[in-house]
Assembly symmetry: C2
Homo-oligomer: 334 residues x 2
């Protein structure tokens, strides 16, 4: 990856829970890498989280702090990346407000990401307007910083497309070249499966190993992992494909040859689950120990300081964009 | 009407054209009356106008000044009523952003006011999200000022209902009594018909007498008015019900007895259109002359001063509400 400090990268998380190994391998590690290469903004998307958690704001609020602790613990450096809280950058709400005119309801309803989320969330006929419109709010977040690099999973590509449709329409209607189109930067890792082997790892499903989990909790979760139900005795041949332990070893163990040898043995028969679970436990404990220790050392005051500085810087940048946007829309009067 | 200076009245106009006699009799006159009785805010709703005029922002911008000229010309006193520009009170956009979570798309689609406007506007399947959501933006405008008195026409009652649904939902979910329910203050006059007798008076239809129309233009419009097509000769009996001239005389002439006598004569036959049109012309010229003269004397600088002061005051009030709203939502962190 080239160093392009003149390009802006924007990413972030909805603070609906502390972060877990799925986030670590899916986004956090690459952010640590990217923070030196791009002008990086990391947004704690509390306002977006409220679009489907509006009845439990205290949960969102508490998790703002948990998420930022996780950021710092994994090595995101507030001196390199600007960490900010979405709701505290009021300019984002105002940009959203004006962008809402540039996208149709039917276009939002057809957005595949939104569509599949709506199915999961079981809103039925009661879709909150804020939820349906959250891609517009994301377009505001992205364009406010003139971000061109947006790390996303494949399932989020339609959100980037909605953003770029708004960008093009805005620039065309207001005869301006103010807003920049964004480019998705696809994450290399697929979403990490949960320890139950059934669904993606998720805090709310209780099937994730959290970055803040204590040593014994990690061990317990590793040893409860789903392997191959037909691999009953050590000498039974076992499946390594649909096997959570091997999936995690693939994702977190750094010696690929060692894992390949183990897989061969496991397939043939003669390797017990206890051995591979112990190896995975050691592997994860080694990764998680320094993260957990750093996490514990961070005070709320330190987080507030990080967020205040990051939010102030973000507001300054977003205010420039907003002023340009309102300018070409004729909304600056005196 | 009692004087309740502790109660807030909010009203306003979309600046899509200068104002006309329909506005005068339907809302402006009563605002002049109300400005001494309530803590009055009059909003030039440029942001709301953009929800269906987003491609012609220069029209909206220019009409902000036209509308405020009309306000001052008819006697709205910026010392009594706070006149402000919606887009310059950023807090309103932010409130809108959070209220969007509290109303469903289907509820907005069922709103009778929005429904009938959608039919008129011929958006087809391309309804801008901003347009569908404008009742939420109105709820932000109303609640930001804790306005309880909202002068509206009957066709706008569903907008007040949407506002109050948001208020109740907000106060319930966030266990707060911050937002106040609004009460519609129905205008006494029905909407004034256009000079063509076909549709309501409207600048865009070209069938309205504008407050800024010159004397000869007013006269021309009055003499082109639709009367009774069967009243061809002076002695023919005429219809006074579906007769624009009599409708306007009813609305603008202050001697009801004189008009009743004329109506009797017209019904029976023996009263020519020219006579009643001359009377209406005299009546309107008497009303419009001082308005037009005052309008001409107002400079752009004066309007800017009025709007700067009004907007500053409005922002201060709206900022208090926004801070209360974000406070109970847990969105104040440090």
């Amino acid at each position: 990856m080239e160093i392009e400090k003149n390009k802006v990268m924007l990413t972030g998380d909805r603070p609906t829970g502390a972060l877990h190994l799925g986030h670590y391998v899916g986004s956090l590690l690459s952010r640590v890498e990217m923070q030196s290469k791009f002008d990086s903004y990391i947004m704690v998307a509390d306002a977006q989280a409220l679009t489907d958690n509006f009845s439990t704001p205290e949960k969102v609020r508490a998790n703002v702090y948990e998420v930022v602790k996780d950021y710092i613990a994994v090595g995101i450096d507030p001196k390199k990346a600007t960490i900010f809280v979405q709701s505290q950058v009021q300019e984002l709400a105002e940009l959203t407000f004006y962008y809402l005119n540039l996208v149709t309801i039917s276009r939002l309803e057809r957005n595949p990401t939104v569509k599949s989320e709506l199915q999961q969330k079981e809103f039925g006929q009661s879709i909150p307007a804020g939820f349906l419109c959250y891609p517009v709010s994301q377009a505001a977040d992205i364009t406010a910083f003139k971000a061109e690099i947006i790390p996303v999973g494949e399932d989020q590509l339609p959100l980037i497309e909605t953003c770029n449709e708004i960008v093009r329409k805005f620039n065309r209607i207001y005869r301006a070249e103010i807003l920049l189109e964004a480019k998705a930067s696809l994450s290399r890792e697929a979403r990490l499966i949960g320890i139950d082997g059934k669904q993606k790892a998720s805090k709310s499903l209780g099937n994730a190993i959290m970055l803040c989990d204590e040593e014994d909790v990690v061990k317990e979760k590793v040893f409860s992992m789903f392997t191959d139900p037909n691999h009953i005795h050590v000498n039974d041949p076992g499946n390594v494909e649909v096997n959570v332990v091997f999936t995690y070893l693939d994702a977190f163990h750094d010696d690929r040859d060692e894992i390949d040898t183990l897989k061969q043995k496991y397939r043939k028969g003669g390797l017990g689950d206890k051995v591979i679970k112990s190896l995975l436990n050691d592997t994860l404990q080694k990764i998680l120990f320094p993260i957990r220790e750093r996490r514990k050392s961070i005070t709320k005051n330190q987080i507030d300081e990080i967020l205040i500085a990051g939010t102030e810087k973000s507001r300054a940048v977003a205010a420039v964009t907003l002023s340009q946007v309102k300018g070409v829309m004729g909304l600056s009067y005196w």
